[in-house]
């Protein structure tokens, strides 16, 4: 089964879930405010899931992601709080923002580089080294913060997690993107029916986005970052040599190696990028919470893995897509948000979420099995 038809089914499932939740919550779910919040909640898991897609595609795993988010968040928080940027204004405040963001990303990047180095140089199983790193980074976050929250962070910095692109600009972006997509889809050599379908999709999707974000405060900044990174990640995977190499390495490392794929550099690069993305998420999370918590990001790695797997990427590697993972992240986010709105007790939420993840993957595997048997 190809990824397009999979994603189409995923979208349908998401839409059905949305309609269902609309009625179950007496319309609260579909309010512009709630949907905006939903996307902002999804953004962090979505960014992590995008990176995790690559990691899983090459047959790896990164369990350290959640702890790295916390550690990097703490570094951002320290710069903001301890170096006194929280009350800064003007150029000083901007310096604080870039410093916090830069250090946070750099910390994540170095940790990712270390993971990748241990995996490629010393051939330690990714599961083991990132499990170790998960504990180490969590400990480091607790040490650096003395176990306490670092807050408040500066207002300008907090924009990164809480701010919005103004409504006018949001509507303009929606319009431009829709126009670009329409032109692209008209120029593609598709059958009339497919063309109509894709145009409908663009109009519906773009219209919905414009309606939701236009009716509230505009695009949240984390959502913009998520959108840009997801598009970039999807493009690299499906349209560049690097993407082809990633799929080849996951599909058969021996064959990839003999065909000249630089498997070591690629592996190193992917774990490093995963770390940098976790660093970025650490900064966003700190900004959203107006402070850094050493206990933040707990189980983020598992949410990211779940999104990737729900999105149809094989844990064996070699097959999958970024768009699937994005859908998976939205599915998990919608579940979390919907269940909270319905005031389902948190303990039950966990059980329901777990069951649905297992169910989704099971159904998908079964479908794949049937497709393979037919062929």
């Amino acid at each position: 089964m190809n990824h397009d038809s999979r994603n189409f089914r995923g979208l349908l499932l998401l839409a059905t879930l949305g309609v269902l939740l609309h009625f179950l919550t007496q319309g609260t779910f579909t309010e512009a405010r709630n949907l905006t919040n939903l996307t902002r909640q999804v953004a962090i898991n979505g960014i992590l899931a995008m990176g995790m897609t690559y990691v899983i595609l090459i047959g790896g795993i990164d369990l350290s992601v959640g702890s790295v988010v916390a550690l990097c968040g703490i570094t951002a928080g320290m710069i903001q709080v301890k170096l006194g940027f929280a009350d800064a204004v003007g150029a000083q405040a901007w310096l604080g923002v870039f410093l916090a963001l830069g250090v946070s990303i750099a910390t994540g990047l170095l940790i990712g580089l270390f993971n990748g180095w241990m995996i490629t140089r010393y051939r330690i199983a990714p599961f083991i080294i990132t499990l170790g790193m998960m504990v180490i980074a969590r400990g480091a976050a607790l040490i650096l913060s003395d176990g306490a929250a670092l807050s408040p962070t500066g207002d300008l910095f907090n924009e990164l997690g809480q701010g919005y692109l103004p409504v006018i600009a949001t509507l303009a972006v929606c319009g431009v993107l829709m126009a670009l997509q329409i032109v692209r889809s008209l120029r593609r050599p598709l059958q009339a029916k497919q063309k109509a379908l894709s145009l409908t999709g663009i109009l519906l999707g773009g219209g919905a986005a414009a309606y939701v974000f236009g009716n509230y405060n505009g695009f949240p900044y984390p959502v913009i970052l998520f959108g840009v990174l997801a598009v970039l990640g999807g493009w690299i995977l499906s349209r560049t040599r690097a993407g082809r190499f990633t799929l080849a390495l996951g599909g058969n490392p021996e064959a990839a190696w003999l065909a000249g794929v630089p498997i070591r550099a690629l592996t190193l690069g992917i774990y490093t990028a995963m770390g940098a993305l976790a660093g970025l998420c650490g900064a966003i999370l700190t900004a959203r919470l107006n402070g850094a918590l050493p206990t933040a990001g707990e189980l983020f790695e598992l949410d990211a893995v779940a999104a990737v797997v729900i999105g149809g990427t094989s844990l064996q590697g070699g097959s999958g897509s970024v768009s699937g993972s994005v859908l998976g992240a939205f599915l998990i986010g919608t579940l979390n948000n919907g269940m909270s709105l319905m005031a389902i007790p948190e303990f039950y939420q966990k059980v329901i979420k777990g069951v649905i993840i297992v169910l989704a993957v099971w159904l998908d595997t079964r479908q794949k099995g049937q497709a393979a048997a037919k062929a």
């Binding site: 040599r241 190499f245 080849a248 599909g251 064959a255 003999l258 000249g260 794929v261 630089p262 062929a375």
Partner: protein, 521 residues
Amino acid sequence: MTDSLQPDLLRMRAIIKDFPGTRALDGVDLELRAGEVLALMGENGAGKSTLMKILSGVWPSGSFAGEILRDGKPVSFEDTRNAHRAGIAMIHQELALFPELTVAEHLVLDQLPAVIDWDPIYRECQTFLDRLDFGLRADQVVKTLSIGSRQLVEIARALYRNAAIIVFDEPTSALSEKEVLKLYSIIRKLKSEGRGILYITHRMDEVFELADRVLVLRDGKSVAAFDRTERMERKELEPRLVAAMVGREIKDVFPLKNEPSKETVLHVQGLSLTRPNGRKRVHEIDFEVHAGEVLGFAGLLGSGRSEILESLFGYYHADGPKGSGFKVEGRVKVAGREFKIGRPVDSLRAGMAFLSEDRKGSGLMLGQSILANLSLARLSKQEGSSLVPLRAQDESERSRRWITDLRVRCTDPKQPIGHLSGGNQQKVVLAKWLETEPKVIFLDEPTRGVDIGAKAEIYQWIQKLASQGMGVVLVSSELPELIGLAHRILVLREGRISAEIPLKKEWGADIQERILEAASL
């Protein structure tokens, strides 16, 4: 004819087995009597292994059509244990043993009680082994044994279960001369005890040494059966066997050879490969390949044929899946230019290509499309940033062209390659390497697991590449293939070249024997 009083030890009747896209077995009949050796012959892909997998319960009943009779009674196997219980034992080509376990543990593995008292077990096994006189000790750990002794462990295991039917799958391919003779005498003994032996082989010598009857499979059908008790002369029988296996005279399968040029495309001097444990697998080998020449490598399994190509191509580089620890040395010139052995990508860029022996293991990404498989090597040969966008149009045109040129049977370049037959998969792998426009191409068992039709096409292509001036190094276990295609054969033994045999236009009838002699001595 079946003895009317005593039913056959084993009968397989009208066996049909389908795989996606291919029919592996098409109504095969087989009968085996007590106290005989039945040789099962056929080219790779003829269906021998599939038939044996059905017999040993790997393919359970229901996954194929036809019936199996054991002592005249129909049986059906759900799994391999059922087959064991029916007295059927397989001696696998790639031995199915556990390296860390002892000989005794192998013997009793499938009949262990919940709580084990090892001492009496070891004593009992030792008594059993002494009676067999294989020279095995019950407490030896399998990984410390030679290949020949490991095979004896498998045989001992079959006998310990008191198997009535023992299947040998090309048992001598990795054995030394001495071990082969020992195996022959063991098989004769088993036969005299009234067991039925199914003996899969490619080698004529073995057939004439051991077999009472011969069954030949081709393209999933039983095409011929010969009874050796009818005293047919070897001279008379051998050509008929070959013709039955190949389906036509060998001469017609192979294209005419071209005249290679004087120009050298690959020059190798002092190539050696040392394993991490310090053992040398390839010992200072020198050879050269001329433009337009097909150079054949002959030798037994483990003689270092593949390792030479792998070393040259960069498979053992520290960045690769084998990790650091291997040492490759040697001076190499490709098309006259000095080349430093590095990673596979360096070899690609220098103009080499390497179709590896194990198509599924190191040739293909089975889950991915024809197109993705086909363009991979060309993409990594390109230099520059790997974030530059692909040219989808160009890529799809290229793969369509290869599909037409090589006559790959498929519906679309986007089709998963796992859905194709072995022959078509192999054509895609060949296309993958030809896409890189190499000056010299290494082909390691290019026709393994490939049906006869595709085989002939691959032969034509090898010849075509040579006549276009490419240098070809061909490794093959099938001597007719080497003789039919190569201009020159280097015979390898234990990592060294033991003979060089030119094959310009004429060669003697004893050519196969000369090669085998140089390979095994």
